[in-house]
């Protein structure tokens, strides 16, 4: 079991290194296959691990393995350590599974790009990093994976590096994630100071291990939880650190599908579940997480209404869906959150990949205003997109229905605060229906637009490339349809049971709560869809015309502007000021000044040397007189 999980971790890394070192000696497509095979191998290893773990007693389903001491200082030892338990295996399956599908898809999508090899190296690196993140056996290794996925994300967003916008987006993503890394690191310092360990076993429950020790220090535990939440929020693009995600759509579409929809951005959810014991000791922070999730889901849903870029709409939808997950895990419905994470990975990847096929077919065009009437031209794509959309909205029997609604139900368990969140979630459901179907109607419905007529969709590349585009999408479409069937709250709960040894849920909804939530959510989602149909189905208008609100939404609530004014500008201005006021005059000027003073003194003392011999004698005599008088005076 340990071996298989190490294999799972090692295969993608090996692929990344092999592609990098091979350079031109490997064909472009060879690189793609290598990466795909490695990821598939990782998935196979994850499956093996899963079954091996399945065989054990629930209480016995946790095993750690340390390769070597990665970082030590005195008594502190942080091993290069993985932890295999239900949660990590769950994530391994999702990551490696969806990952291998998307890498496969990339073979077709990236076909013909100049730097395919680099792309696949990065992708393999990402999968490795993500697996390191989820397998890491202590917070430090998790943080390492955390940083490495950020790095891969940076590399892949900026993959088309001639584009200034792509580079800017990549930098933005990296720096906002680094902010999260920093708060996490600080939390880790505090945690080390309080407990002396970062191993997950110590934090497995809020009552055992080091928990009592932590609970005694109220401030510390809140700060630790807050720091971890900072990391989670940054990585998962939740308010207020969400602005990088839409920009990240500058990357190739499979990247968006894998990193910015299916896996990396959900790492925050994983982190909260993994360290749930800490959050449970700091309930206010946990509430904050849920609140942030709720706010994000509504806000992102609103913004998605006015976006005109097909990928950005999906990106905002991703934010919104992760908001649901945060809501869930913030409320203690860990299994529900994780379940939604999984289904979301399926249908969101599906949406992105279908969108990718559209973009690919339309020669890179992403603006939905130029699309329209694609349904007849690309029926299969339309079908896939529709499945994804239905799953997203949460229409039964698609995957989203099973996972999303039980999160909402959990909110009802949480007093008045939970009620507010519940309403927000329901509102979000409505918005989801609205923006999803707006997208579907605008892109696929109606008449063919001028642009589409001018650029009739066609598939590039050879058959192999086409197949590699369509087969993964098909698989995902199936998964988006049936993936949710593995759990039906209160009736059939294998996911919850599987995760129970790691994260005992705080809240489990009762039957009527489940029913009410499901019913309302589905209804609202369908209402949204209906509204979308009534608005966009007939009239071909991509954006609602409501000027002031539209401006607000199009500027994404002015978050970018705010951060620009709050952080970036001040940093630039401070740096300029430091150059102008400190570095030049003060630091450099001091030297110049001192040197000038000495040169001046030198010139003066050199001028004393008049060349007049009488003055020389005078100097001798005068100093003699002074010396003699002083001698006699002080004797």
């Amino acid at each position: 079991m340990i071996v298989s999980s190490w294999i799972c971790l090692g295969l993608p890394l090996a692929a990344a290194l092999a592609i990098t070192l091979a350079g031109n000696r490997i064909t472009r497509r060879g690189a793609g296959y290598l990466a795909t095979t490695a990821c598939a191998g990782a998935f196979a290893a994850a499956v093996v691990t899963f079954f091996l773990l399945w065989d054990r007693q629930p209480a016995d389903r946790s095993q750690a393995s340390t390769l070597w001491s990665w970082l030590t200082a005195g008594d502190l030892h942080f091993g290069l350590r993985i932890l295999v338990d239900p949660l990590s295996v769950f994530m391994m399956l999702v990551v490696a599974g969806v990952g291998s599908l998307i890498v496969w898809y990339s073979v077709g999508y990236m076909d013909g790009d100049d730097e395919e090899r680099r792309y696949f190296a990065y992708m393999a690196l990402f999968v490795f990093s993500m697996l390191l993140l989820v397998q890491g056996g202590n917070l430090l290794i998790l943080l390492a994976g955390w940083g490495l996925v950020g790095l891969s994300s940076y590399l892949l967003i900026g993959f088309w590096h001639q584009r200034a916008s792509a580079i800017a987006a990549a930098k933005k993503a990296f720096i906002m994630n680094a902010l999260g890394d920093a708060t996490m690191a600080l939390a880790l310092f505090l945690l080390i100071q309080q407990t002396g360990t970062l191993d997950f076993e110590a934090f497995s429950s809020s009552t055992s291990g080091v928990a009592p020790q932590l609970a005694s220090n109220h401030w510390a535990i809140n700060l630790i939880a807050l720091g971890l939440l900072g990391g989670a929020v940054a990585k998962s693009a939740q308010l207020p650190l969400h602005t990088w995600l839409p920009d990240a759509m500058e990357g190739p579409t499979p990247v968006s599908a894998l990193i910015h929809a299916a896996t990396m951005v959900t790492a925050g959810v994983y982190l909260i579940v993994r360290t749930h014991a800490i959050f449970e000791l700091a309930p206010k922070v946990q509430d904050l997480a849920a609140g942030l999730g709720a706010a994000t889901l509504v806000l992102a849903g609103l913004i998605a209404l006015v976006q005109t870029d097909i990928k950005r709409v999906i990106a905002y939808s991703t934010m919104s869906q992760i908001g649901y997950m945060f809501l869930g895990v913030g409320l203690g419905a860990y299994a529900n959150g994780m379940f939604h994470l999984m289904t979301h990975a399926f249908f969101k990847a599906l949406l992105f990949m279908a969108a990718g096929i559209v973009i690919h077919a339309l020669a890179g065009e992403q603006d939905i205003r130029k699309m329209g009437g694609l349904r007849r031209l690309m029926p299969w794509t339309w079908a896939a997109f529709l499945i994804g959309g239905l799953a997203l909205v949460g229409v039964p029997p698609f995957a989203g229905f099973f996972s999303k609604d039980s999160i909402l139900a959990a909110a009802l368990h949480h007093g008045w605060y939970g009620d507010i969140l519940w309403f927000a979630g329901l509102g979000g459901a409505f918005l989801t229906g609205l923006y999803t179907f707006r997208l579907i109607f605008v892109v696929f419905g109606g008449e063919q637009s001028d642009y589409v007529r001018e650029h009739p969709p066609h598939h590039h590349g050879d058959r192999v490339a086409r197949w590699s585009l369509f087969v993964p999408v098909g698989i995902l479409a199936i998964l988006a349809t049936i993936g949710g069937w593995i759990q039906f709250a209160n009736v059939w709960t294998p996911v919850t049971d599987w995760l129970r040894p790691v994260a005992e849920p705080l809240a489990e909804a009762t039957g009527w709560q489940e029913a009410a939530s499901s019913g309302l959510a589905v209804a609202l989602g369908l209402m949204g869809a209906g509204l979308a149909w009534s608005y966009y189905g007939s009239r071909h208008e991509a954006i609602p015309t409501w000027p002031r609100l539209r401006a607000l939404l199009e500027h994404k609530f002015y978050f970018d502007e705010l951060y620009d004014a709050l952080f970036y500008r001040p940093a630039v201005v401070t740096a300029r000021l430091l150059y102008a006021l400190v570095e030049g005059p003060l630091v450099g000027g001091t030297i110049a000044g001192v040197a000038g003073v000495f040169r001046g003194l030198g010139r003066e003392s050199s001028r004393l040397q008049t060349g007049l011999v009488r003055v020389y004698a005078l100097a001798v005599a005068a100093s003699l007189a002074a010396l003699a008088i002083v001698f006699v005076a002080v004797r």
Partner: protein, 102 residues
């Protein structure tokens, strides 16, 4: 000891010495500067001889005699220099010897 005692002689020596020093410091003619140096040395000699008398042993006188020889030597070299300078058409004015300065 008859007449003024040693302090008087020493005072006269000091006068001579200071007078010579003043000459060196204010005169511009190198010849007169050399003469002023002689006066300084004479002041020293007077002091030496006075002290020699005061202690009643001849060391000071010996010293004074050697000083005379030294003074003569300085004069020889100094005058040699002055003659050499006049040959090179250099003005005999110490204030104009300012090629070397700064």
């Amino acid at each position: 000891m008859k007449g003024p005692d040693t302090a008087w002689y020493l005072s006269v020596a000091a006068f001579l010495f200071a007078m010579g020093a003043l000459g060196v410091m204010i005169r511009r003619s190198p010849l007169i500067v050399l003469l002023s140096l002689e006066i300084m040395l004479n002041g020293c000699n007077l002091a030496l001889i006075a002290a020699s008398r005061h202690y009643g042993h001849g060391d000071g006188q010996i010293f004074a005699l050697t000083v005379m020889a030294v003074a003569a030597s300085e004069v020889v070299v100094g005058l040699g220099l002055i003659v050499a300078m006049s040959r090179r058409e250099v003005a005999l004015d110490v204030d104009q010897l300012t090629t070397l300065r700064g």
